[in-house]
Point group: C2
Chain length 210, copies 2
């Protein structure tokens, strides 16, 4: 039993396909070929067909993919055909922006808790979400059964808080702190760090001569 697992690199492209498909649906398109979708994403048509065929036969010869149908399939595959509750840790600039961001809801996510250690912030409300004391974090996340956290705390405390999140049952962490988190098998961590992206790009830039 059990077909061989889908390569993670394939899974990592599905959200990009979904985002593009959403956009095309907004534009009023009804069908899209692998070629057109690939052109938008800078990916080959063959790769898109191969990726999608891992999950089923979603297209039709001659006409391509029906956009509403493909959208539905991608949403189901990525398990965002429900709303996932998310906790945000850290109510600084980044954490506040995440708590306020309106784009989560329509893509399967809802920020339901926000934690900080600063007494000046605790009790205040951001986008109708009360800032709670991080000391309560483990208990509150455990009782709510939250599986996803976004970590926007200072680098020196990120590992310690990540450990507590995992102890509380969190299994996926989107980490905004510029540190590599050590986590046990089975815990997903992804990283957002603008400096990493900028340094990647400067490799290719030429210094201005002035």
């Amino acid at each position: 039993m059990g077909r061989t697992a889908i390569p993670d690199i394939v899974v990592s492209r599905l959200p990009l396909y979904l985002r593009a498909i959403n956009r095309m649906e907004e534009e009023g398109l009804e069908y899209i070929s692998s070629h057109e979708l690939g052109a938008r994403l800078g990916i080959s048509a063959a790769q898109i067909r191969k990726d999608l065929s891992q999950f089923g036969e979603f297209g039709k010869q001659g006409t391509g993919y029906h956009i509403p149908f493909l959208k539905k399939q991608l949403i189901r595959i990525l398990k965002v055909d429900r709303v996932w509750d998310v906790a945000v840790i850290g109510a600084g600039d980044v954490g506040s922006a995440l708590a306020r961001y309106q784009g989560f809801r329509e893509h399967g996510f809802r920020v339901v808790m926000l934690f900080d250690s600063d007494p000046a912030k605790i009790g205040h409300t951001i986008n109708d979400i009360e800032v709670q004391d991080v000391a309560q974090m483990e208990a509150r996340i455990t009782e709510a059964g939250i599986q996803i956290a976004m970590l926007a705390v200072p680098a020196p405390v990120a590992q310690e808080i990540a450990d507590k999140l995992i102890a509380a049952g969190v299994r996926a962490i989107l980490n905004y702190a510029p540190v590599n988190l050590a986590v046990r098998e089975g815990i997903r961590v992804e990283h957002i760090d603008p400096v990493i992206h900028l340094q990647h790009m400067t490799y290719y830039l030429m210094p201005r001569e002035d």
Copy 2:
């Protein structure tokens, strides 16, 4: 002439190596082996040695890599041995957080301009950076010779503004808007979108049964 170019996937790992090396230097470590560095990053020792050897011989048999020396080399290779001026477009939650972020400076970047279209924001100051009218953007970026921009504007206007940035001489865009930008050859674009990461992770999560 011209050796074959370094694969981009190798370049993309260098900032991660640099971040880890910075951390180790802070911890007071002096030497690091490819094995230890790999363990921290979840990368094989062989890959680290192979990656670094693309740029020179930075290690020593028996002892590994001298941390301050390797740091210096990575900084040079990534061209962050200078300070790059960066423009931020959009003074909403994300743009403001970027303008305030203190972590850029020590890694080679400095936010020097901030633009928005909202008259209520123009003229105000965020972290000593004046919010300027986006109508002035092209002129101001051109005259300052800025090559790097972070784009934190609403999705519907992102492409249009990206086109103007490129016309103004920008060659690297860190795009926070959830759209795929179409850019000509030679322009670097990288993407930060929390929804993409969250949807990647939910693929692997099991729904709570409750």
